[in-house]
Symmetry: none
Subunit: 224 residues, 2 copies
DNA sequence: AGTATTTTGAACATTTGGTGAACATATCGC
DNA sequence: GCGATATGTTCACCAAATGTTCAAAATACT
């Protein structure tokens, strides 16, 4: 349901958290240090929650938190801090570091999942469940897109593209942004690949194909 | 969002700063010495911040700073100085050199980014989200310009021209400046090409076409 | 391993936009 | 008012962006 960033240098912890939250339907982004976390935040536009370990190489959790609060776009992102020892907790509160929640290691994955849920709810996680536009129905539960009630059989990439467009309707998206968001920030492919997928998506959308408008000299825009 | 000049003779530093600030959405101009920096400032009309290394060949950072403060057009440009050693800092302040901020090497790119952001905010540049002038609406999110609520279908060059005018409203812009800003500083084309685009832009702006005034013997000015 | 599906980008087609020469018109200094 | 210069306007050619097709490569499925 949401896109969540987990930053921790311990692979075990990262995997553990990521696996549990994935099972809750979230999309997980993983970073093994602070620099990486910041890069992910910069490049991935729609992160809805960040879980940061305090102790990390390159840049610690506080630095990343400060970065998040400084950037206008991310300033209001809910942030959960992971700390290794209970003693640090007081320090954290004393520092008024601006995090939204603290969890001390070792933690129970289920407790963590519950707190994540709370944070997302508290953040008013905009239930952007508007996925029906006329006879175009983007069904994220069934993981399919229907036109006139019939599944149009999108491939994985086409589906992700569709979701990205849906989450950014009315916004002009450059090919670069689309590549970063749908293919991943570490993908270095031809920008024109986007065009090819757009074409196929438009074709499958049939009468709704025109809803994906070309923004000449820039990229594309999904209109509803 | 903003156009920023970085002048430093060390390529590594230049690239580092440029890369980070690019990720923040800024357009970067790079100079490897003071002479080059001044040339770029002369040719590029809308530089919003200059980051100058103190120690550079040809002309050092102070000389460039003095130049900036002497020119009426650039006198108020925020300037950030980079200095190699902490000791120099006192000296700088003592000299009252007129820079807006100082950063000592080695520095954290993120700290630098944050300070840049502060300077731009302080300069009142960032909040220039005024894109509605009566019934003329310049929508950078949708990447379109509307008059009376209707998209006037600008071509890429026309759109960029419009944005440039919007960011420099009330300022007389020579054809050279316009070419440098919209076409790129490495473009060598006919100055009259600007006229052709102005004509088309005026036509599409309809009743607002007159807002682009001719400054005879010089260039054009967007008035609101 | 073998088959089916999906992804990818090169190649070509088509559409759209950019450019500057040429001519028309306006403005200025005298 | 006249010539000189600057700007407005039009248009045809060329350049660039996007659409489209396709086959090879990668991936998933069995």
């Amino acid at each position: 349901m949401s896109v969540i960033l987990i930053a921790d240098d311990e692979v075990r912890i990262r995997r553990l958290v990521a696996d549990f939250l994935k099972r809750d339907g979230h999309t997980m982004l993983e970073a093994s240090n602070g620099e990486e976390a910041i890069r992910l935040i910069e490049q991935h536009g729609e992160i809805e929650l960040a879980i940061l370990d305090v102790m990390m190489p390159e840049k610690d959790g506080f630095s990343v938190l400060r970065y998040i609060r400084e950037q206008e776009l991310t300033a209001k992102m809910p942030v959960m801090m992971l700390t290794a020892r209970a003693e640090e907790l007081d320090q954290l509160h004393g520092l008024q570091s601006g995090a939204d929640d603290y969890v001390t290691k070792p933690f129970s994955p289920l407790v963590l999942c519950a707190r994540v849920k709370n944070l997302l709810l508290r953040a008013g996680k905009k239930d952007d469940n508007t996925n029906k536009f006329g006879e175009l129905d983007i069904d994220e539960i069934r993981h399919e897109v229907r036109v006139n009630g019939k599944d149009i059989g999108l491939t994985p990439k086409e589906y992700e593209l569709m979701i990205y467009f849906k989450n950014n309707r009315g916004i002009a998206l450059s090919r670069e942004k689309i590549l970063n968001a749908v293919w991943g920030y570490d993908y270095f492919g031809d920008l024109r690949t986007v065009d090819t997928h757009i074409k196929k998506l438009r074709a499958k959308l049939g009468e709704y194909g025109g809803k994906i408008e070309t923004v000449r000299g820039y990229g594309y825009r999904f209109e509803v």
